[in-house]
């Protein structure tokens, strides 16, 4: 990272804070070190020893932010560090900067509009160009680029396509893994330049979002992802507020972790208690700030936008 990029990074961080100050969201700086962590089967926390017990560096500020929302603090944002183990590459660093925010009473489409406002404003101010913005459902992406309906296609068909897109060891993979592979290898590279919002993700990839029956009769999750010039930038939900449903999903994750020989993780009961207390209807999104900088500065590697990437730490 050179001196100009470091200054640019500083300006972007200021602009991000300015955007939310103007739009009346409060900044919260929640802990990055906690006694609990996420159960997601594809996200590994970094464990640390705290007073002789296990502690976790947080993979996102989500649970703490939702606990604040349940206390009735209103719209909030957090601009801070998140940590994920075993993620390092051209677009990944085990420690990275994440912007996450929540809007009470909004749905995911309203939040997508605000994400577009934010990015377009930054690009206008810092690069003086207009950005193309488009929206497409997850199903339409698959139909358009792969000619297959991701919600109804038979598993064997998806497995065959995964083999064709990668290698023969994919013939027996799960539905979720085949969809992830096909999306990463065959859809993502073909997405339009500019900002593309992909919404209505498969129900099996709902994570912490609501599941609903959409106008096309598909049972899908109210989750969206944002792609900036074909690179995954942000992930958002119309948030699941039902404590029992959330707990059931966590327990399902824990079961799958056990089957997959992944490190055991316990349910974060303080988070579940907050949902029982009552999380207001809200939408939230998390955005990778380093990736945003990669696109704004048009560089190939995340190391080029960080003062110190993991290789140099």
């Amino acid at each position: 990272m050179n001196k100009d990029s470091l200054r640019y990074r500083s300006e972007i961080l200021q602009s991000l804070r300015g955007f939310f100050q103007q739009r009346q969201a409060m900044e919260v700086d929640v802990p990055v070190l906690a006694r609990s962590t996420v159960t997601d089967i594809n996200i590994e926390s970094i464990n640390v020893e705290v007073f002789g017990n296990i502690g976790y560096l947080q993979t996102s500020p989500e649970y703490f932010m939702k606990r604040l929302l349940a206390c009735g603090v209103g719209d909030i944002f957090c601009l801070g560090k998140a940590f994920r183990d075993s993620e390092v590459g051209r677009r990944h660093n085990p420690e990275f900067t994440m912007l996450e925010w929540y809007r009470c009473g909004w749905d995911e489409h309203q939040l997508m509009a605000e994400v577009a406002d934010l990015i377009c404003e930054l690009v206008q101010r810092h690069a003086s160009v207009d950005l193309a913005v488009s929206k497409v459902s997850y199903a339409d992406c698959f139909t358009k680029y792969l000619g297959v309906d991701p919600h109804n296609a038979q598993l064997a068909v998806l497995q065959q396509m995964a083999v064709a897109a990668s290698s023969d060891n994919w013939a027996t993979e799960t539905r979720g893994n085949c969809l992830d592979l096909l999306f990463s290898f065959s859809v993502e590279p073909q997405l339009h330049r500019g900002l593309v919002f992909v919404y209505d993700y498969p129900a099996c990839q709902a994570a912490l979002s609501q599941i609903y029956l959409n106008d096309h009769g598909q049972t899908v999750s109210r989750r969206f992802e944002v792609f900036f010039n074909g690179m995954e930038l942000a992930n958002g939900y119309a948030e699941l507020t039902d404590a029992d449903e959330q707990k059931a999903r966590f327990e399902k994750d824990i079961g799958q972790r056990l089957l997959g020989n992944k490190p055991a993780v316990a349910v974060d009961n303080k988070f579940i208690e907050a949902l029982e207390l009552g999380l207001p209807a809200c939408a939230g999104v998390a955005l990778g700030v380093d990736r945003l900088l990669m696109q704004l500065l048009d560089v190939e590697s995340i190391a080029q936008v960080m003062p110190f990437s993991w290789e140099r730490c």
Binding site: N42, E87, S166, W170, L181, Q205, N235
Partner: protein
């Protein structure tokens, strides 16, 4: 051999894939935020030289390949095998025609080559980057043509055919870059 997990994959690592030793050329980490992480790997099959692409889920592992690159001196060939010697131990290894491959057209006795051993036996041979060999056969050059810098084919004693300047004659020794097969100069 030890097993290597995808997060230890890096270029140059030698692994067993479908029964053949391979060397990693490139490894790209791909991960959708909430989804399965992959390693998209390009490998060279060290037996066939073929480049393969393979995608692994993060956390999968492959067995390491017992592959070792070693400097050895080329001794002689007996029509069936080519013999190489480890300079320190004087241990000799016989390499088959398929192991020697294209290197055969550059080999002259006593040259130091890189021999890749797989389970202790030669798998491939890389000749020295530069070799000095004499011309076995070439057409006589025409006087006066040197200024134009034209070239003609010359067959070397080892069998390789190299383009050389017109003024060179049979019996002269030249220096050749074995990586490109290009003439580098005359050796006096």
């Amino acid at each position: 051999m030890a097993n290597y997990s995808t997060n230890e994959f890096r270029s140059g690592l030698k692994l067993m894939l479908d029964g053949d030793p391979c060397s990693i050329l490139e490894n790209e980490f791909v991960k959708p935020g909430k989804g399965q992480a992959f390693s998209r790997v390009k490998l060279r099959n060290l037996k066939t030289g073929r480049v393969i692409e393979k995608t692994f889920k993060s956390g999968e592992s492959l067995e390491g390949a017992d592959v070792l690159d070693m400097d050895m001196q080329y001794l002689y060939e007996d029509g069936e095998f080519w013999y190489f010697m480890e300079p320190n131990t004087f241990e000799q290894h016989q390499a088959s025609e398929s192991a020697v491959g294209d290197a055969v057209k550059w080999l002259s006795e006593q040259d130091i080559c890189v021999v890749t051993l797989y389970n202790g036996a030669p798998l491939s041979v890389v000749p020295p980057n530069h070799v000095e060999l004499s011309i076995a056969q070439t057409d006589p050059g025409l006087r006066g043509d040197t200024a134009q810098g034209g070239s003609k084919p010359a067959k070397l004693v080892t069998g390789a055919v190299v383009k050389v300047p017109l003024f060179l004659e049979e019996g002269e020794v030249i220096k050749v870059d074995t990586r490109t097969g290009e003439y580098q100069g005359r050796v006096k």
